[in-house]
């Protein structure tokens, strides 16, 4: 679904008008892409700042294998 505006300037209002808000296929495609983004961000976040917090929190809870968290994270992406 495309809106072809001949020679229209690229303003934000024009961009907004082009977005197919009611198109189920566009929404479905968007949801799929958003899902991949959310997956990526969760994994990225866990790799970056969680490990130390998680290990500390787990150690406080008395977990013996809290230090395994980095190892687990290293394995996670292979399950795609």
């Amino acid at each position: 679904m495309e809106c072809l505006n001949d020679g229209c300037p690229k303003t934000h209002e024009e961009d907004i008008m082009d977005i197919p808000l009611d198109d189920p296929e566009a929404n479905k495609a968007a949801a799929k892409i958003q899902a991949s983004f959310r997956g990526h961000m969760t994994r990225k976040k866990m790799k970056e700042d969680k490990p130390r917090e998680e290990v500390k929190a787990l150690a406080e809870l008395g977990w013996q294998n809290a230090g395994n968290f980095p190892r687990i994270l290293g394995k996670l992406p292979e399950f795609c």
């Binding site: 934000h12 961009d15 929404n27 958003q34 899902a35 991949s36 983004f37 809870l61």
Partner: protein, 192 residues
């Protein structure tokens, strides 16, 4: 917020995941899918995999009851390399209400077939799916999309993302013109 509710006559809402042909509880852009029967899902993960999943699962248990909250399940699946939509997660959880999402907890044995179902999904997004999805917004046909437009799309279509989510996602992705090469972007997204 009442912690536990008896199944009173709520309008077209069921507390338990019923198999009866109930009408869709909430209006949706697309028709609600039929209730999912997880008893038919065969868990095919190896014992080693299940052990790793159980460890990851346990790391999300903040209560210490060997369970996780329903509203953590999406993140656990993402941590385990999957990319389910929020809708798919809710479906696999039996279409719980918002209250159930916050209050109900799930043990690992019940989680496994849910994860398997998501892993088995034949409609999982591929590199090409994402690239073609973004290409729709490539006005000049040069392999780039305007960051500003992508932000609007992500915030208004599909499962809308919040501004904070979008900012985190787009950080460092736009070039000096505010454009994004979407093939490179998708490669980056899929690399972790």
């Amino acid at each position: 917020m009442a912690p536990k509710k008896d199944a009173k006559a709520a309008p077209a809402k069921k507390a338990e995941p019923a198999k009866a042909a109930a009408p869709a509880p909430e209006p949706d852009v697309v028709a609600a899918p039929p209730p999912l029967d997880l008893s038919t899902v065969k868990v095919e993960f190896t014992p080693d995999q299940q052990e790793d999943y159980k460890e990851a699962f346990g790391l999300f248990d903040r209560v210490g009851d060997a369970k996780v909250a329903y509203n953590q399940v999406a993140d656990i699946m993402r941590a385990l390399g999957q990319n389910p939509t929020n809708k798919e997660v809710r479906k696999v959880l039996g279409n719980p209400s918002d209250e159930d999402m916050a209050a109900k907890r799930l043990e690992f044995e019940a989680f496994l077939p849910m994860l398997q179902h998501i892993v088995n999904d034949p409609n999982k997004g591929t590199f090409d799916d994402y690239v073609e999805g973004l290409r729709v917004f490539d006005k000049e046909g040069n392999g780039t999309v305007m960051g500003a437009e992508l932000r609007i799309v992500l915030g208004t279509l599909g499962e809308k993302m919040t501004e904070a989510e979008i900012d985190a996602l787009m950080q460092g992705q736009e070039d000096e013109n505010g454009s994004i090469n979407f093939e490179a972007f998708v490669k980056h997204i899929m690399s972790i």
